[in-house]
């Protein structure tokens, strides 16, 4: 019963909680916001590339998607942090920039890794919703004199985005949770901060319980928000 007697939640809350709510929260928000913006951008580019009629581009994107979907996110983060800078340096040296060395902070690598991984999954959502827009919409817009690009930007994408926003919400919640993987590449987010605190104080049970509760407090409301938006948008579209 020694362990129970030694439990010191007040201390852990007093010391760890401010750390989590300070710098760690800032980093999680930063990673999620920029990671998600990158994911949506990547998602749109990949989706449009796959819809385009250029065969070579289609094939390249399919190969890229298979690579991303066939490897774990954690491995991708490690690769992005440790290997990609080396490859970039090597490539730069090869094409003549002899003194260049690529530096990437762990947070940058984390954001890139998360953004590209999620972008790949989101691209399929976007592609499906673009393809689900009735062809008559494009034809009506073309018949009014819009160019194909205007048709895509003004008629098809606005409807496709409306249809995919509910799914985006779910991906956002997942991404918040997956920022914890960045601890493995030394990003000072929630998990890494907690781990450091634990190794100083040995308040293992307290620290990790607090960590779990913090994730719950962020993700459950976000999840409800996503559900609410899903309902809202489903009502609107019919």
């Amino acid at each position: 019963m020694n362990v129970l007697q030694n439990l010191d939640f007040p201390k852990a809350i007093r010391e760890l909680f401010p750390k989590l709510m300070g710098n760690a929260l800032y980093i999680v928000i930063l990673a999620t916001v920029f990671g998600f913006l990158l994911a949506i951008t990547v998602g749109f580019l990949l989706a449009l590339g796959r819809i385009s009629k250029k065969k070579v581009l289609n094939k390249l994107i399919i190969i890229f998607q298979e690579i991303v979907r066939g490897t774990p996110l954690l491995v991708q983060l490690v690769y992005m942090y440790y290997v990609v800078p080396l490859l970039i340096t090597l490539f730069a040296n090869l094409i003549g920039f002899k003194t260049y060395t690529c530096h990437m902070t762990s947070l940058t690598a984390g954001i890139l890794g998360l953004g590209i991984n999620y972008g790949t999954y989101i691209s399929e959502v976007i592609r499906a919703s673009i393809l689900s827009i009735d062809n008559g919409q494009s034809e009506a817009a073309l018949a009014l004199g819009l160019t194909p690009i205007q048709v895509m930007l003004r008629i098809v994408l606005p409807q496709a985005i409306r249809n995919s926003i509910p799914v985006f919400g779910n991906y956002l919640v997942m991404m918040v949770k997956d920022t914890s993987l960045m601890a493995y590449i030394t990003v000072q987010e929630f998990l890494m901060t907690t781990k450091a605190y634990t190794s100083q104080t040995f308040l293992t049970i307290e620290s990790y319980t607090i960590l779990a509760v913090v994730y719950l407090c962020i993700c459950i409301p976000l999840g409800f928000l996503a559900k609410y938006m899903e309902k809202k948008f489903n009502q609107k579209s019919r």
């Binding site: 008559g136 919409q137 034809e139 817009a141 009014l144 004199g145």
Partner: protein, 248 residues
């Protein structure tokens, strides 16, 4: 000078040749009804006229311009050639008013006020002024088609193509759409209408074209076409359509 001159028009889908050899001259102010059995290529022909389908051969001359020329500006051409669809194809995320003002603002660079003024006049003309702020899914099929007509008119086209505009409507809603079309025809708009409404064809059209098997089989005034068809296939088709109960 004819508004549009179609010569030897052909369209092939894979092995299937839908349009074999279409020749037609459309003059300004013509109201042309295209009739014929399903699969005869009526809709394909109409869609070739504004390049929603790419013709496989022949030529379409619009006001002395060859629209099939490689560098021809098709979007610009489509501004002058309006089209109404069987399934209306209104933009569901825009209000009725926005549906009508959208293209004039974007393409004709009209100011918001100017576009709205025109749109409200057109909505009044099709009898839907009160629905300006409604969304398409709140309207009946007949109302949607009338909005679609207003949307097309807002681009001030020189010719309007109608692709079976009443085929997707409940029978009691057909009349209101035909009434609007009759009104537009009276005002001198050039119209090409693919239709199954023989009443409309005989009453409003100046010319009726009977298509079958990828050819224009007969092209004559409605009185001639309906009372005294020359071609056997025309006779057969008309007797079936005009006396659906069987008869002879």
């Amino acid at each position: 000078m004819p508004l549009m001159e179609i010569k030897n028009l052909q369209k092939q889908f894979g092995d299937l040749q839908v349009l074999k050899d279409i020749n037609l001259t459309i003059s300004k102010g013509d109201v042309i009804a295209i009739i014929g059995p399903s699969g005869s290529g009526k809709s394909t022909f109409l869609r070739c006229l504004n390049m929603l389908e790419d013709p496989s051969g022949g030529s379409i001359i619009f006001k002395d311009q060859d629209i099939l020329a490689p560098k021809f500006n098709i979007p610009k051409y489509r501004q002058k050639v309006g089209m109404c669809f069987q399934r209306f194809n209104l933009f569901p995320f825009m209000s009725v008013l926005e549906n009508v003002t959208f293209a004039p603002k974007l393409i004709l660079k009209k100011s918001k006020e100017e576009a709205q003024e025109t749109a409200l006049k057109l909505l009044d003309k099709v009898g839907l002024l009160s629905k300006a702020d409604a969304y398409p899914n709140m309207l009946s099929g007949g109302q949607q088609q009338r909005v679609a007509i207003a949307r097309t008119l807002a681009m001030e086209p020189e010719i309007i193509l109608f692709d079976e505009p009443t085929s997707a409507l409940d029978p009691e809603l057909v009349g209101e759409v035909l009434a609007v079309m009759r009104e537009i025809a009276k005002e001198g708009m050039t119209m090409v209408v693919v239709t199954h409404e023989m009443g409309f064809a005989s009453e409003v059209a100046h010319r009726v074209i009977f298509m079958d098997g990828g050819y224009v089989v007969e092209d004559s005034a409605p009185s001639e076409m309906f009372k005294n068809p020359k071609n056997d296939r025309t006779k057969q088709f008309l007797s079936r359509v005009l006396n659906p109960q069987g008869g002879a």
